[in-house]
Symmetry: C2
Subunit: 345 residues, 2 copies
DNA sequence: GCGCCTTGTGTGACCGGTCACATTCATGCC
DNA sequence: GGCATGAATGTGACCGGTCACACAAGGCGC
């Protein structure tokens, strides 16, 4: 162990080489596990490495070899539960593969700003993971130059707007379908929907799943209410819906929206689930503790993040252990906020 | 603009140099804004840069100059509101200074695992920001080698466990003091406290502030209840507190704990704020939409993150515009969950 | 006893920048 | 006119690794 107190600069392979009495190339071979190194030599080198506290300089490695063992996550948001969980999943998998994780936030959805941010991320070297749940993310994905290794975390599987690139997704359509069926099966005539902002001009997968379930049940199809991402949007939407006595079941694009809706219903004096049933999306950590606790669809965001990394990892190193299909199955969690419509309906 | 379709490797300064008919050093001077370059030469170089789409290679820059224009945030958590907001603040400020942001998650609080993660973060080059709100973070801060530039985001200002390093903090003591005083001023005899896990063996700043306010008011000082970080911990603590009819006011270490407490009180049939008042900490985005909406203390985590970066930035570049004192003032937000004790007390 | 392949090791160039120093030329001053 | 001075530019080494190739020694076939 290095006991010289002097804060000198860290040992390089040449330092190790002289200490072990070999050439720097031999040291390089040892740290890369090259087969043709005599065991006794390897031993000496390893001893020198240990003594000098040598660590391979990641920057030099990146410059010389081109491979940078790093990924950058581009996202429009870091605090929302889903986004943050994806990031966590990516970090988890990256750490296991000893990759570094960078993060870039798409503050604005304006094209030039997004392009600049993509450029910055590209400068960092390594691969890119773009969370394309929102307009900023979708634009970012589209702005990534073709030669850059990138994986998109997208809403809808079919032909993502980013072109012909690898991507991962959760089956939002199926999840919405399941949640809607659940509400219908309780006896509600139809289910209203408060949508999260769509990432593209096309209707979102969640909207499609909801619509499909209604159609299958022959239920009337109300206009979806446009929400935002946060509880404030849900609150505004909930206020409108609360006015309509025909509304007895509301599906929300995420749990935050659902929270706002619950609050609005409470303020309007409509009981949940007595008069109105509410269901959310994501199963955020607080949803189980709300009063009433929230019926929702649990999505495995962390697993999604891990899958995104695995896919990118396969692209970056042609070892190419591209996982079969990283779609995890959404799971309906029934809690207090959903129930049969009141008898007096 | 580069129109050759060939996906060739990006232009280097030598490519630019030959294109502009100068030496690579002159190109270097231009991109670094060195004064002694003839205007006409500069113009030619800039034109070549534009034509070839040259971007300075960040890796090479880091290797050659030592400065890496990057910071890594070490944190035990990415999804909790406070942590995620700090990260966002760091990223915001870093982006403005065109620094790259890396992230490392301290999955375990075990010393070896933490040390390894610190090493990894150090390998990335650049500075470190350690969120030391929990045991893992505190250990990480302590494990950072002395020669590494690091800023700690800590709970308590006085002599942080990490040694004599720059750090930032919010005035948690004052915040807890204010919240406690608020509850006492409503007429409660005393205020119970559900604590977040302490980052060190010493009592946390929040606990201290709460205790101090009780002392000043001459109120009895109940034992703080140990919670965890999430709503589950609050729920467990709330169950215990709900049994005791003498409990009329509860201060919680964060909003998630408060949510769990609210739920437990609801399950026990104790009304809020009628029978029991509850206050939280952080003002998470959902707190305003709970039923009852939560009285809490708003903390500027994003600002804290920005301040942490600014401080680190000053250390990394001796331009040293070390901000005066980056402590933002916590703000009490009174909502529905707190009120006077019921008359029948 | 020669050629050939394999194993173990070393040398020089290179990745794309920066840094320290050398060089050239115009200018100002005595 | 000679010389110091400073502006404008170029040259070579270097950061810490990797890569392609050279080279010596040992084993084997014939």
């Amino acid at each position: 162990m290095n006991v010289t107190g002097h804060t000198r600069r860290p040992a390089s392979i040449r330092d190790v080489a002289t200490a072990a009495g070999v050439s720097y190339q031999t040291v390089s071979r040892v740290i890369n596990g090259h087969p043709s190194v005599k065991p006794s030599t390897r031993e000496r080198v390893l001893a020198a490495i240990d003594e000098l506290g040598f660590r391979r300089n990641a920057t030099a490695l990146a410059l010389a070899s081109g491979r940078s063992r790093a990924v950058t996550v581009l996202t429009a948001n870091t605090t929302h539960y889903g986004y943050a969980s994806i990031l966590r999943g990516v970090e988890e998998a990256a750490r296991a593969a000893s990759y570094a994780v960078g993060i870039g936030v798409l503050e604005s959805a304006e094209q030039p700003a997004v392009a600049a941010e993509v450029q910055r991320a590209a400068d960092a070297g390594g691969g890119l993971i773009v969370i394309a749940y929102d307009p900023a993310g979708v634009r970012a994905l589209a702005a990534v130059p073709a030669e850059l290794p990138v994986v998109g975390v997208v809403e809808t599987p079919a032909s993502p707007p980013g072109g012909d690139r690898p991507w991962v997704w959760t089956d939002d359509r199926e999840a919405a379908h399941e949640a809607t069926r659940h509400l219908l099966s309780l006896g509600h005539e139809t289910v209203h929907y408060v949508a999260i902002p769509s990432s593209t001009r096309r209707t979102s997968a969640r909207t499609t799943g909801w619509r499909q379930a209604l159609k299958e049940a022959g239920a009337p199809e109300p206009r979806p209410v446009q929400g935002s991402w946060g509880p404030a949007g849900g609150h505004a939407a909930g206020r409108e819906l609360a006015k309509d006595p025909a509304v007895t079941a509301i599906l929300c694009g995420n749990d935050d929206l659902a929270l706002g809706v619950l609050r609005a219903l409470h303020e309007a004096g409509r009981s949940v689930p007595g008069e109105v049933s509410v269901a959310g999306f994501d199963d955020a950590p607080h949803s189980a503790y709300l009063t009433p606790s929230l019926t929702t669809v649990r999505l495995d965001f962390t697993g999604l993040g891990r899958a995104a990394f695995a896919l990118l990892h396969g692209v970056l190193e042609k070892s190419a252990q591209i996982a079969p299909h990283p779609v995890s199955v959404p799971e309906l969690v029934v809690r207090e906020s959903s129930g049969p419509p009141s008898a007096r309906g």
